[in-house]
Amino acid sequence: MAKYYMGIDVGSVSTNIVLMDENNNVHYKKYMRTQGKPIEVLKDGIGEIETLKDDIDIIGVGVTGSGRNLASIIVGADVVKNEITAHAVAGLDFLPDVKTIIEIGGQDSKIIILRDKIVTDFAMNTVCAAGTGSFLDRQAIRLGIDISEFGDLALQSNNSVRIAGRCAVFAESDMIHKQQLGHNQADIAKGLCEALVRNYLNNVGKGKEILSPILFQGGVAANVGIIKAFEETFGEKIYIPDNYDVMGAIGVAILAKEEVKKTGYTKFKGISIHKSNYNVNGFECEGCSNVCEVIEIREDGRILARYGDKCGKWSNSLESKDSKLA
């Protein structure tokens, strides 16, 4: 029976699952669109593993991403880690002497600075998604082109159009004006790639010392237009890991491996969890002026966790420590 470690990254745009062996080789990876239904997608993903590989033993599970707490309640994770640490671990595993990691995902973009294999600094986009994948997604829809063709289109351009990248809404109206002026799509696509890179460096990378080797990961690393824009800006080669789109899941699987080695057992609830029914209910607690939004997760009718209340009235009424998340 093959033994695997599972890494799950529940992000805002995508949910990724990987299975990794003892030597950090990825044997299975699944990239799914979250579409606002993290539980459903997670169940489908795990269900698929059961049908594809019937002879497996999962000996450790890690979860990361903005939905990590929710995912942890459902699968029973050994490690729950934030995305930054997870991405750094995976980046180091791919390129041990990496000094800068650029990570651009759906809603978040990050820069991670490493020196001597240690994270010494990081930054994340602050209050807006203008420097992230959603920005590109949105503009691609506006241009009427598929996001997967976006990068290639940008590469066809010889001169780019300057587009305001500071804010997604400004960018959109600026782009429309440039279209009306008659600029062609390729030039606009290139302009958008450059706008994203500019915004990323001004906003996220500000004040950080970017040294090579530079690793570029996250869903946006699939976009050749962005890669080229980065390379032109830095005048350096940018490394893209083989599994650039599931690096968070890989990182957390590595962390799960370390954790399980320490504890000697896994908390994983088993692969058949996808057969259970999960219900999530939200309600507003009227107990005091805080009016907290309390969230309740049920597994086949049994309350699995409650969280979201500031005072602990609801989360403390359960035994499990997992519920005290908020």
Binding site: N69, N82, I84, F122, V127
Partner: protein, 363 residues
């Protein structure tokens, strides 16, 4: 006259007791909540800084409870806080509320307006009575800050950090029910006793983080998304660079010379920022260096979106961080109450500090 004031962290505890001691009616604003924020954002200018929005919410909620006079301290620095009172008055008027605003401007704006205001607000028989109530509320401010600091410390060392929350929550609930200075102090002492009873694990060596930034954001837990609790549960020892106690010491008790620590922060900030930029911009820069010198593992700057002085400080902090090789993270706070993103940043920052410490102890 029914007096109300903005809700700022635990300041209301002392203010409430102060007026109750003077035998006056006060309507303390309800604790900041989502509703406060909702009222505030709906009725304030879109791009104004967050504290004004919350305060608008506070005032409306208090007025609905019967308040007719609003008490506010003023400022005349470059920061927009100086014009809060005027703006708030117009906002409330537009909403159809007619209330009195009493603004205490800094002493160097002239003694007379302050005297007039004191007569208007306090309506006391003797100045002795005022001083007695003042002393009592000063004691309450200090104790309230002590409780906050103690709870942060206990959280970092406790075997079960959630016990702290239970005690603190019940303290906040009961504070609304007590009347006057004596009962308030009694409740506070009981809370301190309870906190001291929590089982500690003194073998822990918690990561130490200083919270820096503008005072309102640091002391108001709703606005900063209870960052102290969150860090405390991660086993971090948190210290706030500004508290009501330090503010009163610097601006009132030690006027016009200022307190020792605050003056030191000005001195530390000097190589980076020589002058006043309004709000607490200069203190923010100074505090970062102060905590670096004190051997803290890192600092977190709390920046309410659009706060001019803090934006100035933020861009300077990049250099401070580089020069001193000291981790500084900025959290920008606004209407967003989706806390998952903030948790990610805090967790990652604590992870980073832990690994730095391990590295130091090895190499």
């Amino acid at each position: 006259m029914k007096i109300t004031f903005p809700h700022m962290g635990n300041v209301y505890i002392a203010t409430k007791a102060f007026f109750e001691e003077l035998g006056q009616e006060v309507v303390p604003p309800p604790i900041c909540s989502r509703k406060t924020l909702e009222i505030g954002t709906k009725n304030s200018p879109e791009t104004i800084c967050l504290p004004l929005k919350i305060m608008t919410g506070n005032f409306v909620e208090s007025i609905k409870k019967g308040a007719d006079t609003i008490l506010l301290v003023g400022s005349c620095g470059p920061c927009r806080f100086g014009f809060y009172s005027t703006l708030e008055k117009h906002i409330l008027e537009d909403m159809g509320y007619n209330v009195d605003f009493i603004v205490f401007d800094p002493i160097y704006e002239g003694i007379k307006p302050i005297k007039d205001n004191i007569v208007k607000v306090f309506k006391v028989g003797s100045i002795g009575e005022l001083i007695r109530a003042g002393k009592l509320s000063w004691q309450i401010i200090k104790t309230a800050d002590y409780i906050t600091q103690l709870s942060n410390k206990v959280r970092a060392y406790a075997v079960d950090s959630y016990q702290v929350d239970l005690i603190i929550n019940s303290y906040y609930r009961q504070i609304e029910k007590v009347y006057g200075g004596e009962e308030t102090i009694e409740l506070m002492n009981k809370t301190i006793d309870n906190l001291n009873k929590i089982k500690l694990d003194n073998s822990k060596e918690p990561i130490k983080i200083g919270l820096i930034g503008e005072i309102y954001t640091i002391i108001e837990p709703f606005v900063n998304l209870e960052v102290e609790r969150k860090l405390g549960h991660m086993g971090v020892l948190v210290e706030k660079s500004l508290t009501p106690t330090t503010w009163v010491e610097h601006h009132i008790a030690k006027f016009p010379f200022g307190s020792k620590t605050e003056n030191e922060k000005y001195r530390l900030a000097k190589p980076y920022l020589e002058t006043l930029v309004g709000g607490h911009g200069r203190e923010t820069v100074g505090s970062a260096i102060y905590y670096a010198n004190k051997g803290f593992d890192g600092v977190i700057q709390l920046l309410p979106l659009n706060c001019m002085p803090e934006i100035v400080a933020k861009s300077i902090l990049c250099n401070v961080s580089k020069d001193l090789n000291f981790p500084i993270m900025t959290l920008i706070l606004d209407e967003m109450t989706g806390e998952a993103g903030y948790l990610t940043r805090l967790e990652a920052f604590v992870d980073l500090l832990k690994r730095r410490r391990e590295e130091k102890s090895v190499g």
